[in-house]
Symmetry: C5
Subunit: 334 residues, 5 copies
């Protein structure tokens, strides 16, 4: 899959070039040819760099003239999602989210985007599904090629942002199950899962809200790099970002409701247990009292002499026990 | 009810055209005539499209020149409520709310509105009551026809927004009942209903607050499409949106108070149960102690020889029991 | 009290006219004369309409040229407090608050104000005390007549806003009592009163904070209707609104502290009850154990033969009970 | 201390005049001379009015031309802290805080400041320490006299604001003690003190944050009364106000943590008590069971005939009791 | 290490001078030479003053012309982090954070920076690691010398800000451990550690968020002292500040989740304990009841005469006990 550039070139997975005039794609160009391709103004070059080495970074910086601070951010992973404006290009960091494994572990994969007037450079150390999707869609949308690199960036970012929604759907379903189980059979272990979902939502929010805020700022001011017509696409990404972050906030609200419900139901069960304790104690103590009474050693206790005294005592015990049981059952304490 | 347009036309439920000069309405125009009607500048055309197919969307986009992103949003349901400005028209998404069924299940029905200078296109996949209301009111308000499509949009949106208030009234009444029941007989199941209302309010807030925020932004900046006089109508919608969202926030505040009250009352009942447990244990143990004492086997226990020793023992048991009972009743532990 | 205007006139309680030049008041003018009085520019006309009928609204709208949307808001009660700017006048909705009845029930009475350059129209369906106060003060402040209708509006609104403070004082005093009772005797019913006050504060906040926000906006922008000198009066109203809403927020903060205190103290009492339960159980069970031992049927139990065995047993019971009691008293469990 | 002005003058505690040219102070000027002193432009007059009567207010208003609304605010105590701009002067209300008495009761003393271009009038009904401090410092800072009345206002306000910090230090120390006691011996009465501190912080915040907000606004806009060089002093006051209000917010955060800790530790102790209850019940019930067994009246119970049966029974009781005790001690339930 | 300047000079640890033209560094210049070095415009002078005396401050103020208010802030420790603009220089206060000792005690060390056009003065009373780091990096980055003192300030501030991240990593790891322990073995003492971390995060937030806010303001307005190219470095510091403060906020969110989890698990354990109490009581009471029955003194109790009556009684006790035990084990109450 991975193409090794022979001498001195950057290790690129994919390089695609689109001539916006002829609408012709040149897939798998050589990294060495990037400089040439970029000279022609109508060309849009997309270079996708996976798992880059230190020298890759240096060559990228040289070829495209990236500021050393943005290269530094690219090198150090775990940046916060952001859009930064540098002279001649935007530097964008965002995260693709995926649930993996049997426990639906949340995995966030960092994608660094350098978005220039007629190029897009994507850098990532883990495989990003949206890169494949964007490559496919870009070919399909070639009739809108006049929007240039902005359209490509839109397709790529939108693919990542839209992927959050089904993932949030999975979490939402799991929460509905949890809620049912809390009001149903009540499993005290549910708290652990509530807590795990809370953490997931926290991480998801971290990877979306900063982007939303930055897009908000970007869309409100003058954007000299892109034409007015491309603007509407970024408006759309912003709209999806709001939708995703609103959904996350709603799930968080709902989760805290679930938590409250859990605690209340848990408190109710505690009350129930205490009532039961009171009931059982009362029944057993009352019955024992009868036995205690007939265990007294008074010389003159007529019942002791009766032929059916013992049976009478046992029956009164059963009677008292059953009576109390029925009463406590009726008032819903047992 | 539904009229099938024969050849190639859009499947429309209703098309109404109003000549703002003569104030004459033309109901049930043919979809095929829309283009002709729109040529006359004084005409306001309202096309209501229900449950549209994929080809309907395409014809709509072609006829009115809608941007493919707005058509896309219209096609994918469950958009967040919003007002988006596109060249030549506004794209509005909002939700009609209704409580249905015996359990007052909340149903939110999406309505997409394309609002142009002299047309209004409404798209929805479920029946929207406000569409009927707006059609009726538009005819009645024909004396204000000079406000154009803006007035129609106002009537439609206001009909939807105003419908939230009686619905919130129903919820508010239910909450008052809940509250009474909590301080009254206390049913531990109330928590489930509190939780259900909480969710309803969450969904209602989601479908109102984004609209409120967008209207706020819209009203503060220049609105080139509509005349200054129409502005006051949108101010009115905004006012109603604030009222609805304030009411929702108030109900949420009140619900969380109810929740707190529930928890406190629940805690108090727990205290009460514990007091009762202590009381019953104390009484029964004390009485049993008497039986235990006279069950001892000492050779010299004068009471055992007394003629009324047994009666005395029983009476002292009753005495101790009754005494403790009265005391605990007095200090409010039983 | 109420004066019935004979033919076709608006049913007015009070109409006062002030000539700002001569500073002469004309009380109880006829509603029919309003049009004439308004022609003279120096006149300030105040028309107070109580419990208006549908035709009253129509005549008002015609006489003063009110927009049908503001008349609509006036007709439909339970508007949220607001200040709306219409061409030529402000439409203001606010609420007078009063505690009534033995339970200090909170009553909020709506007052609609139409404030024009040289007139003030007040509409309300319930009696408003501030109307009387304002009428009296307006006569007293005639030396500041040059501030025109703005001054009258100031007097009226300020009378309403200032009335909130003593009312909040009553609530504050009640909260101090509650707090003392929680840390003192502790009544579990206090939660119900905390909840009732919470609701009152919620309603009061609803009727003040929107006004505060609107005044804030009004004062920050150009106010073409009123002169600069009148501005300082509205600044003063705004200051009082902040004071009232700050006080409400403080009371809410304090109430939530009281609530927390209630819950903590309630929890502590639970702990105390549990300690007491443990203590009583321990004492009774220990004493019963002694009785149980001497109730055993061994042939060889020397104590049973002793002359004072029984007394010894009883004394050891008392001794054990008293010892445990003193110990538990010392460690503060009883 | 208090100097009585003979005929018709305002009852002043202190009047100080500074000639900014010669840097000469004239202490204890006569109130009657204020008008004359103010005529000379280089003079800065500071008039400190304590416990003023109604006629004092009138004379103040006449002498300095104060607006009747600011005089009204000055007369009615318990204003919220604020800075209001009136034509020709600022009206400032702020509070000096002090802990008094054995219970560290918080006392807030109101100080009203009228700050004009070349005068400062301070009005208060209770003694204000900062007035003395400011009088002393003003003499010492005479080399910066060119900053005029602004510098004097700075010295005075800064003296008040800086006095909050040691007071907050006292509260912070007390909170550390509380915290130690909660994790240490745990006194259930701590909740009452937490609550008392919470109230103190609430009052302190009320008397600082409004000032901070107003200073923020003042510093951001044009300040025509004072020169640019004086601006830096007010920036400094603002910085101290932020520091004080940040400290208050931090203490509030910490207090709510302490409250949470209290509740958790309280919950843990409850758990401990319940464990102990379970343990003691188990031990006593088990031992009593042995006694119960040998209290049975079967004809054939070999142990009853044994010579050391009784001793055996007692020893088995002790054994069971001790065994359970050691086990429960080991699992940390006792 | 510390160099003592002989006569009258400021006690400096380190003075470095960089000629931005020749890119030559002059390390360890004499304090006495500072004035001379500063005359040459291309020189950047960095003076690091440790543990300064009162006279040091005076000489600093004289040499660089610092405003007495900034010197005052420098003298009084425990300032809040801030960036203040004075004529000709910025005064910056920030804190270096470190975990020290076996208990990971948080230590915050204050660093005061005076940042002028071609000088940087750092003042601190405790050793600051970032000073060493910055000294080293400044030499390495000499190729970017044209950015002047701004670059040096960037290196220094960034070194301090970046040091927060590993520290937060340590706290985050500790929180993961805590969380595992809560859902695992559950130690009731965990609450004390949660509380300690909460306090640490509170202090860290205090030392970061004010800086973030100030940088935000600084970057949005005109910055006359530094060139546009240096701006990007401060943007980078701002980005790191956001990252640090976001991380702190996330940890706080997570900690409060952990706290909730702790409380819920603690509540669950309480429920478990109560269930166990109920179970043990029930078993022991039931078994004791059997003993009580056969301890009754009825003349006619056939079982008492049976040869294996006693064995039968014992077996029935064991049977009842075991049966209940197994049942309660099955329903998970034991």
């Amino acid at each position: 899959m991975r193409r090794q550039i022979p001498a001195g070139g950057i290790k690129l997975i994919k390089t695609v070039c689109l001539d916006t005039k002829t609408k012709a794609f040149t897939d798998n160009c050589l990294a060495a040819d990037i400089s040439e391709l970029r000279i022609i103004e109508d060309n849009i070059v997309w270079a996708d760099v996976a798992d880059p080495t230190s020298s890759d970074f240096e060559e990228l910086a040289e070829e495209f003239g990236f500021h050393h601070l943005s290269i530094e951010d690219c090198r150090n992973e775990h940046q916060r999602p952001k859009v930064e404006e540098y002279p001649g290009y935007y530097f964008i960091v965002l995260y693709e989210a995926q649930l993996v494994g049997p426990n639906d572990r949340l995995e966030l994969r960092e994608l660094n985007i350098f978005l220039g007037k007629n190029y897009l450079v994507t850098v990532h150390s883990q495989p990003i599904r949206a890169v494949e999707t964007a490559a496919r869609l870009w070919h399909e949308w070639s009739d809108r090629a006049e929007h240039g690199s902005g359209l490509l960036a839109y397709i790529l970012i939108d693919a990542i942002v839209d992927d959050y929604l089904p993932l949030l759907g999975v979490i939402s379903d799991r929460m509905d199950d949890l809620e049912d189980s809390i009001f149903g059979e009540f499993q005290s272990g549910a708290i652990e899962e509530i807590f795990a979902i809370k953490k997931k939502l926290l991480y998801l929010r971290r990877s979306v809200t900063p982007l939303r805020d930055v897009f908000n700022t970007l869309l409100r001011r003058e954007q000299p790099i892109f034409a007015r017509e491309t603007h509407v696409y970024f408006q759309d990404v912003f709209d999806h970002l709001i939708r995703v972050s609103d959904t996350i906030d709603n799930l968080r609200d709902m989760l805290s409701s679930t938590m409250d419900a859990y605690l209340s139901v848990s408190g109710n069960r505690m009350n129930m247990i205490m009532k039961r304790l009171t009931s059982i104690s009362t029944i057993l103590m009352s019955v024992t009292l009868v036995a205690g009474i007939y265990g007294m050693n008074f010389d003159l206790m007529p019942e002791l002499k009766w032929q059916y005294g013992y049976v009478f005592a046992l029956l009164s015990m059963v009677g008292i026990g059953a009576g109390l049981y029925l009463y406590l059952k009726k008032v819903n304490w047992l």
